[in-house]
């Protein structure tokens, strides 16, 4: 466990929150573990509420409004109900795998938050390879999902799990490459340093990178339009078709915890993390997470789902070359010397570059559909 | 307006080619001998001027002593239609030739008639029950069912 050693080394080296933080390393560790678990659970409840209400309003309905004031307790009621439901393990299932899958899927979603700063320096572990850690950990939950698909011995589950594995394997690459631009500009892999470096939110300096990362992130956590693994009009309920009770609750939690995690990463990398005027930094961070999540809800409400082969083609024929180009252009810009005083010019230039690249690429090189099966 | 062709006129045309194949012809429809149904159907579909390229529906009626299977044919080109009928008198094992080779649209409808009336269409690719389950006894739309 090389990474573990690295973790502890850095934890021991870095002073968290403020220099007069009471207690030592272990206090810090305990405090943030509790904070992260609490934060994730609350946020998940919050985003479930936001999704259901927002989606309801967008569909000209109301959404849950009876359970508690404004329906705020709806996720709590769901949790109470789901946790107390009967737990069914299908007779044909691979029992051990079926049991382990939700846990393995759930752990990485929590682990992701270890490196995300809530305030300047307020994070569990300020790894100097924070982004790599994020990328590595975020794909671990695939294992859990594949185990769920395999262990259920259900054809729909298996198809869903296979789709998920294929999607994750392809989308890791554009995701990493899209971040490289940010890293080049910020000059650090640590998420805290990246936030500190953002005098202007990187979404303006890296518009193409943001789009690519958003698309790839949506695909990675299976939000619409890439929600192929639980495409309920095709695969019933995807990989968790055979899950009920508490284990299903875990998967439900994973789904939204990952969404929160990706929103948090996008907020950190592109929207300036905890930075912002007037409000306390952690509140800014939450607001930004919710903004990004709302964008996800918005696309989910509007867009149809793409097909599995188109999903792969989109990754390899559009996102991958685009992210390479983005990396190349950013590298040139950085190499040529980043004119810090001419930030606004750079913003306009980058947005123009994005528009031209997207147009040209989709005009001449790659376009989805046309009645053909990609591959 | 779709012109309903007179059965008598078409019958005379058919008689020229296949003599003795028409059992009965009225202004509304014509009844064809069941063993020559397929030939007549092909004739109706492929003859210029008739061009019955569209099969509206196939159905059967149980008249106690015989089953009458009715085919309503149309021509989208000339906008005319004709009802052709065939009778089968065997109540135990009624059988007729299948027209799926000519009009694919008859596929499910023939299976339906097999299911509900028990008329076997020879030459149909998969002649099995369509609405009711395998092992169901009897054919519900027969008049003597229950």
């Amino acid at each position: 466990m090389a990474t573990a050693g690295l973790n502890i080394y850095h934890l021991a080296r870095l002073q968290a929150v403020s220099p007069d933080w009471p207690g030592g390393f272990w206090w810090h560790w305990l405090f943030f573990t509790v904070v992260i678990i609490g934060f994730v659970l609350t946020m998940v409840m919050g985003v479930i509420y936001i999704e259901r209400r927002g989606m309801g309003r967008m569909q000209s309905r109301l959404g849950p409004n009876r359970t508690g004031p404004f329906g705020l307790l709806q996720p709590v009621a769901d949790a109470v109900k789901v946790l107390l439901k009967e737990n069914i393990v299908p007779a044909a299932a691979d029992k051990l795998v079926h049991w382990l899958a939700p846990v393995i899927a759930f752990a990485p979603a929590l682990m992701l938050f270890a490196v995300i700063p809530f305030e300047n320096g307020a994070l569990l572990a300020d790894l100097n390879i924070g982004i790599l850690y994020v990328i590595a950990i975020s794909s671990v939950s695939t294992v859990g999902i594949f185990m769920a698909g395999w262990g259920s011995s259900n054809k729909y589950s298996l198809l869903g799990a296979m789709r998920n594995v294929a999607a994750i394997v392809s989308y890791e690459i554009p995701m990493v490459l899209a971040i490289v631009g940010v890293v080049l500009i910020a000059g650090s892999l640590s998420l805290n340093d990246i936030v500190v470096a953002q005098n202007v939110p990187f979404i303006l300096l890296q518009p193409l990178g943001f789009l690519l990362f958003f698309a790839a992130g949506c695909a990675e956590i299976n939000r619409s339009p890439f929600d192929l693994m639980e495409a309920d009009s095709e695969l019933v309920a995807g990989f968790h078709t055979e899950y009920s009770g508490m284990k299903f609750a875990m998967f439900y939690l994973v789904e939204y915890a990952e969404a929160v995690a990706i929103s948090a990463i996008i907020a950190t990398l592109f929207l300036g993390g905890w930075k912002g005027p007037i409000l306390p930094p952690w509140l800014w961070f939450v607001v930004k997470i919710i903004l990004v999540f709302f964008a996800m809800v918005w696309t989910r409400t509007t867009l149809p789902r793409i097909r599995i082969d188109q999903l792969m083609a989109f990754a390899w024929k559009f996102l991958f070359p685009m992210s390479l180009l983005n990396m190349f252009i950013t590298a040139l810009q950085v190499l040529a010397g980043w004119p810090t005083e001419l930030v606004w010019v750079m913003i306009i230039v980058n947005i123009a570059v994005m528009a031209i690249l997207v147009l040209v690429w989709s005009r001449f090189f790659f376009r989805l559909g046309g009645g053909r099966v990609e591959i | 307006m779709t012109v309903a062709l007179s059965g008598k006129e078409v019958a005379s045309k058919i008689e020229e080619k296949f003599s003795g194949s028409v059992v009965e012809s009225t202004p509304e429809n014509l009844v064809v001998k069941s063993d020559q149904l397929l030939d007549v159907a092909r004739f109706l579909k492929e003859t210029g001027g008739l061009d019955f390229d569209y099969l509206n529906f196939v159905t059967a009626v149980d008249y106690y002593d015989h089953f009458e299977v009715a085919y309503l044919l149309s021509s989208l080109e000339h906008n005319h239609s004709l009802m052709v009928k065939a009778r089968c008198y065997d109540r135990e094992n009624p059988a007729l030739p299948s027209v799926t080779g000519l009009w694919q649209g008859a596929d499910f409808q023939e299976r339906e008639i097999y299911d509900l009336f028990g008329i076997n269409f020879e030459g149909h690719p998969s002649m099995k029950r369509i609405f009711l389950w395998d092992g169901f006894e009897g054919h519900p739309l027969r008049k003597d069912y229950i």
């Binding site: 009009s233 095709e234 867009l303 789902r305 793409i306 989805l368 | 099969l55 499910f108």
Partner: protein, 367 residues
């Protein structure tokens, strides 16, 4: 390197979110590619044809409501036309106009549902479906006002309609007609040009003209394949020869064309309603028909252009109060004939949208 794969069978349905009811397919898959499907029907076989033989001619009308339950008015109309043809009943002028207004409103409602369900199958999470459903709800309000039910209207009778329109009907209809084109534009904006939808639906599930005719396909699916055949103009029933409307057709016959076809037909229906509204005469709404209709011995076939295609009733009478035989020509069942040829070689996701674009109702398939 050639990878050896082995086909496996996936049982889709009878309870599956996107089989539009209780339809079932045994799908043979090679990975995600569909190599063969076998539709299995009969999960909603309720013996309507058998029951019709035991009911009076009026008593059959509630049964027809439940055939294609999202277009009950059209089913009522088709049955009443057949019964009137058989008994030789002349329908009053006002009733004819009311029937046209009702069946065209019903067409709008059913096509909206078809479009919404198709988009839902494409994966647009319920939004277009619920929008379309809201518009349908406006139409259902009008039907409820006239007939007193929201789904199974049982409004038409042999020889007219059951009751005259209430006086508040026409203002409401006029208001609806003013608002509807705006909504239609908004829905076109919602997904008509969406890149993902184009990528999913364009060129997928092509049904050629020849095959469509050979498979006895009818309705929007046939016209999307480029065949200009609409019973309202080819064989005008009721009073459709008095209205001026176009028959839109598409060229390719893919899923996207079928979707476009439905949207354009909705607009034509609105045009017909507007004309019928202006011409609506006053007078009786029900011909003098005896309580128990006893048509002479004979047979009659009446067909209409229902939202799903050619819906026909073939009635045989033996001069009793009940039909001797009542056969229904179900457009949904016959339109499925080409399904197997359309989906082979496509992915499982395409199977869903091709199936959705045919637009079936299981109540009508199984009867």
């Amino acid at each position: 390197m050639a990878v050896r794969t082995e086909p496996f069978v996936l049982n889709m349905g009878p309870v599956h979110p996107s089989t539009h009811g209780v339809f079932r397919m045994r799908v043979t898959l090679d990975g995600e590619v569909v190599v063969d499907i076998e539709p299995v029907f009969g999960y909603l076989h309720r013996g309507i044809e058998k029951l019709a033989e035991q009911r009076t001619y009026t008593g059959v009308i509630p049964l027809t409501d439940r055939l294609d339950y999202i277009s009950s008015m059209s089913n009522n109309l088709a049955y009443c036309l057949a019964a009137e043809k058989l008994a030789g009943i002349k329908v009053p002028e006002r009733a004819e106009y009311i029937r046209v207004i009702m069946s065209e409103l019903q067409r709008v409602a059913a096509l909206l549902i078809a479009v919404g369900a198709f988009l839902n199958d494409c994966g647009a999470y319920f939004t277009p479906f619920l929008y379309m459903f809201r518009e349908r709800e406006r139409i259902v309000d009008l039907f409820e006002m006239a007939s007193g039910q929201r789904l199974t209207y049982n409004y038409m009778r042999v020889g007219g309609v059951s009751q005259d329109l209430p006086e508040e009907f026409m203002p409401a209809l006029r208001k609806f007609m003013d608002m509807m084109p705006r909504f239609m534009d908004e829905y076109d904006q919602l997904l008509m040009q969406n890149e993902i939808l184009l990528a999913r639906a364009k060129g997928v599930g092509i049904l050629s003209k020849e095959q469509a005719i050979n498979c006895s396909i009818s309705g929007p699916v046939l016209r999307a394949s480029g065949v200009k055949w609409d019973i309202r103009q080819a064989d005008p029933y009721s009073i459709y020869d008095r209205f001026d409307f176009d028959i839109p057709t598409q060229t390719t016959g893919d899923c996207y064309d079928r979707y476009r076809q439905r949207v354009e037909e909705t607009r034509q229906s609105l045009r017909i309603i507007r004309q019928a509204m202006e011409q609506l005469p006053s007078g009786p709404v029900r011909a003098e028909v005896p309580h128990l209709v006893r048509p002479p011995v004979g047979e009659a076939y009446a067909h209409i252009e229902a939202p799903k295609g050619e819906l026909g009733f073939y009635l045989v009478s033996d001069n009793s109060i009940a039909p001797y035989r009542c056969h229904i020509r179900p457009p949904s069942l016959i339109n499925l004939t080409a399904l197997r040829d359309m989906v082979r070689g496509w992915k499982i996701a395409d199977l869903i949208i091709i199936f959705g674009s045919i637009d079936i109702t299981v109540g009508e398939i199984d009867r």
